[in-house]
């Protein structure tokens, strides 16, 4: 075990080149109102899905974006990919603000950023065979004229995702593949255009636990061998702990804590992170017991609480928490936290 661990640790990417800078990103969705309601209210209410997020993404790392459903992790990623337009803020990739680009420029840039969706059963056209599925982004980007033309690239990315011999899989249709294999095809499709980063949105939550490791370790290996950056969106802190280099914890549209996986999991500073870790069950009956979980459920992002957004549920609330929103500040090393209590 010792040797494995040191190998793993030295594998952790040293913070090198920043490939993506996100600054003050905000995404608000208008809330639909009835006619009478809209007559009564002056301001259009908004759902604050992402409410001021700044972060740097480094080349070749696996960055975990962790939080409960409704915390804004998926919206953040979709906004960065411009699958939905940001309300304000910027995301800088290769010196350009993604949000300023016109459609033609955007199309070119899409080659640099790819996504893997949650449901491998829904995200693939059942009428396309594996070769066509993987070749499609190449054709759309003008890098190949037909699926046949892209054959060499398809074979090489299939080999990259350990589907060998590639010829055996190229002609298969999605229904002829297991869930794990489909998700590997999705990874291969994302890899085909040689992107800088890939957003993986809950890539294993639909898979049986026994095969999740296959896909997760594949992501980790690709980040090491090909220098592909992964943004791994998940609600599962246990897998994030083992495959992410850094973890950002989100709550109600904000990052509340960010640091290396060890920093965040072993010495969590934010009460929300502590509760989230405590709520993860350990697969070992010798270590039993429920940690104190936070009361209640995540409030509506339409009217988030004043001050610190966690204060109505937090066991340590002080007066300042109810009024002043704590900024995300550097604590130690690379460990950042947004909590008044941690500052003292």
């Amino acid at each position: 075990m010792g040797a494995v661990n040191t190998a793993q640790k030295s594998n952790v990417v040293e913070h090198g080149e920043v490939i993506l800078q996100v600054r003050d990103l905000v995404k608000h969705f208008p809330v639909r109102m009835g006619f009478w309601q809209s007559m009564k209210t002056k301001e259009q209410p908004v759902l604050r899905a992402v409410d001021g997020v700044s972060l740097d993404v480094y080349k070749g790392e696996v960055l975990g974006l962790v939080g409960e459903s409704g915390c804004g992790k998926t919206t953040l990623a979709r906004t960065i990919l411009r699958l939905t337009d940001a309300t304000s803020g910027e995301a800088i990739l290769e010196g350009q603000n993604i949000f300023d680009l016109n459609e033609a420029e955007m199309k070119k840039l899409r080659r640099k950023m790819q996504i893997i969706f949650q449901d491998p059963y829904e995200s693939m056209n059942p009428r396309m065979d594996v070769q066509t599925v993987i070749a499609e982004p190449l054709i759309l980007q003008g890098l190949a004229s037909s699926a046949h033309d892209a054959r060499d690239v398809v074979a090489s990315v299939l080999a990259d995702v350990e589907m060998v011999p590639p010829e055996e899989y190229m002609g298969r249709y999605p229904h002829e593949l297991s869930g794990g294999q489909r998700q590997r095809v999705a990874v291969a499709r994302a890899l085909s255009v040689d992107p800088d980063f890939i957003v993986a949105d809950e890539p294993v939550s639909m898979l049986d636990v026994s095969i999740r490791g296959e896909v997760l370790n594949l992501m980790l290996r690709l980040s090491r061998t090909r220098g592909v950056t992964f943004i791994y969106i998940t609600h599962d802190l246990a897998t994030a702990r083992h495959i992410c280099d850094r973890i950002a914890v989100m709550y109600l549209g904000k990052i509340v804590e960010m640091g290396t996986a060890d920093e965040v999991i072993q010495t969590p500073l934010h009460p929300y992170t502590t509760a989230l870790i405590g709520a993860v069950f350990v697969p070992d009956p010798r270590h039993r017991g429920f940690a104190e979980v936070l009361k209640g459920e995540i409030p509506s992002p339409v009217n988030p609480p004043q001050g610190c957004r966690l204060h109505p549920r937090c066991p340590y609330t002080m007066d300042i928490c109810k009024q002043v929103e704590p900024p995300l500040v550097l604590h130690e090393g690379t460990h950042q936290v947004a909590c008044h209590r941690a500052e003292r």
């Binding site: 459903s69 636990v209 490791g213 083992h242 069950f281 350990v282 697969p283 429920f290």
Partner: protein
Amino acid sequence: MALVEVRDLKMYYRTLRGHVKAVDSVSFDIERGKAVGIAGESGCGKSSMAISILRLLPRNGEYHGGSVVMNGQDILKMPEEQFRKDVRWKQISMIFQGAMNALNPVHRVGDQIVEAILEHEDVSHEEAVSRTKDLFDLVGINPNRFGEYPHEFSGGMKQRAVIAMALACHPDLIIADEPTTALDVMVQAQILKAIGELREELNLSMMLITHDLSVIAQTCDSVVIMYAGKVAEYGSVMDVYVNPTHPYAMGLVKSFPNIHAERSPVRSLPGFPPNLIAPPTGCRFHPRCPLADEECMTVEPPLREVSRKKHYVACHKAEIVEQGVDIWAQ
């Protein structure tokens, strides 16, 4: 004597291509006041076992033998009318998978529970209402919310309401099929904690079906690991998790990442479960097993005790696995 004794239970689905042997000679006990977890990959027959015990088979489901004895009576042999009146919901109730969507959206939550009580017991409407309010209190919902509709409840509250409904007729056994899978981690912990407290208070037995071994480790007394419709390993959670004796159980336990462990690659179990219309000969796990040999391919291993009492395993190589060597190490 155990509260429920499942013996040699066989339930197959009829299909055009033959019988799908979803539950194939399954035996285990549920002790009074204890919780047994049923685990395995999707398609291993976990949910089929639940509906077999509650006699809720779909049209193409058929029993092919075996018994489920509760309080000295084989509940599979009872006339349907008697089973419906005396057993279903009164002795055994169920929390279904995706229970959050099991509530009828156009009826008030409270009324739906009142209806369940009136359906099974001869009590007045007022009494049923007051019992429902007590149940709300018991599962941690403010009784003032009796008249609200499901959409006014959060996911966790809906799940609590469904638990209240399962408790409405004071059953001895609750079958919970993936009760928290659709919930967020924090809510999952709240709900499982609530279920644990209720079980203690009411001396309830539980059969918890889940693919999540960590939930079973935290909440159950014993565990049945199923593979391809059969029991691979069965014993106390301590025995099975600490000394897994079936290669499949060992692989499954090891593929669960532990958040408090040192950083290490997430393990996986290569291959996938077999087609249950024509399962592999011999041991059904042999095509995925690193220890498989001639015997495993031809002779089906019986469920047997190896070195610990009441720790059963169906594997020819159990003595090797038991040594604790990591047979899945690559």
